[in-house]
Amino acid sequence: MPVNSALFAQSLTQWTQGTWFASVPIWVWALVSALIIIYMLALPFGGIATYVERKIAADLQDRIGPNRVGPLGIFQFAADAIKMISKEDYVPPGGDRFLFNIAPVLVVVGSCAGFVALPLGQYLVAGDINIGVFYIMAITTIIAPGILLGSWASENKWSLLGGLRSAAQIVSYEIPVALSIVPIILISGSLQIGEIVKQQGWHDHFWNVFHNPFTFISFFILFVGGLAETNRIPFDLPEAESELVSGFNTEFSGMRFGLYALGEFVDVFVMCALVTSLYLGGWQIPFLELDKFWVTLPSGLIALIHVSFFLGKTFLLVFVVMWLRWTLPRLRVDQLMGLCWKGMVPVALFNILGTAIWMWAFKGQSMLQVVSGLFSGGGGSH
């Protein structure tokens, strides 16, 4: 076993030492964690997010929104699911059946598998992979071929245009996203997300977004790049209802469309969770460290507080994503590409250099550490 893999399954085996749980092999725990996270976090999130998005849209536009199914319409997503499941299953006869079937699989796998390396709490990681950030970057790239193949297989002009736009957009924005992860790696010296989050404690660097002025800019680049990678407004050109009907998923009906929609929302969640982990301190609680101050708390409660802080920050970002949808107009394709290559990529490169210079000048201290060092009279004490 590698030393620095704070594995969900491993901590489970530690907690259950001496009971019959301990005899359960590690791959069973890995399977259980996969089932729990996908079926109890990822997919329900995708379902409920569709309802929440409609409700937020209604609030922002001074409408009521879904209000028929259950109190405040909260069972709307269940009704939608039943509707989608019972819809006619349609494969375009002129299209390509094999590719049409395989495309949603690539999209769902690409978005769900990102959850593996996301630390929900200090020890609650399905697998804190050593190259965690890079792993998420890698596994989410298989979404783009999925969308492109699905759009081609539809044999529909709207679909093809949407798919091409989507693929070009995802690969373009991959660059600013990757470049704005580099400052974090410079700061933390690790690709492991658990380690990166751990360094963002109140008595350490605090949140990376406040580490130095350059990471502050970098945070916005990562977030906006994430919006573009998940095809969200203002970068929803692949779906652009007013020009491409429904874009790359025009010919996908019923549950096939539902899987695309789910995949998109799960991808949004993964993106927001990644931003949270890298820049907003993940499960860290601002201004205090639980295990140092309230050591008397049971470990289960600490884990619960950590998870709720992580999810809280992530959902806040998801809310911003939804809020933007009803605030900003859509970009044009040339503006989209111009923003990426002429705006975000140069600024992201500048941020890398800036962060490196800051690290060099202040011996790796964050802004807060530098300021508190000044007040405590002379030089970095850390």
Binding site: P25, L99, I129, I131, A138, T141, I142, P145, L164
Partner: protein
């Protein structure tokens, strides 16, 4: 390696080789591109088993996310390729292809036996320890000590590749 891991490795090997076979013999070139994607993924898993985790990530990011998209774009740009049956033009390459493949066998055999000797010479517990150790830092250290010049040379090479590629794709007057 536990039994379960052996199964995963077997699945990855079958995925790689099977997909590669389909890439070679499937008449539909778009399917070939799709199975090339799966073959790339299988190779990434094999890198993982070899302990090269960072390389596996690079494999997926560059080949699955980049090269596959590029190949798909290329096939879709020349859309008549989709209808083309490769069998029709491929049959005359079968004999030279087989000869070439057989010619490669001695080299592969030599390489594999050398590798086998190296593996047998190394103590197994040391191998396991190496396989479990993080490689990113190792690669980083190597790039900063022994391989500084190759690293910079590669960067300049990539710059040249960028200039050349956009020059080729630029519409000519």
């Amino acid at each position: 390696m536990t039994n379960g891991m052996k199964w995963i490795l077997l699945i990855a090997e079958l995925l790689t080789v099977g997909s590669a076979l389909i890439v070679a013999i499937n008449p539909n070139i778009l399917y070939s591109a799709v199975f090339l994607l799966f073959s790339f993924l299988g190779i990434a898993v094999m890198y993982l088993f070899a302990g090269a985790d960072f390389l596996a990530g690079v494999q997926v990011v560059v080949y699955v996310g980049g090269v596959t998209i590029l190949i798909l774009f290329a096939i879709m740009l020349t859309q008549w390729l989709y209808r083309l049956k490769l069998k029709d033009i491929g049959s005359k390459f079968v004999v030279p292809g087989v000869v070439l493949a057989l010619g490669l066998v001695p080299f592969l055999h030599r390489g594999l036996t050398q590798l086998g000797k190296m593996v047998q010479a190394a103590p197994p517990e040391k191998m396991a320890e190496f396989a479990a150790s993080p490689k990113t830092a190792m690669i980083g250290k190597a790039l900063l000590t022994n391989y500084v010049l190759p690293f910079e040379a590669v960067t300049i090479l990539l710059l040249g590749a960028l200039v050349g590629a956009v020059w080729l794709a630029r519409p000519k007057a």
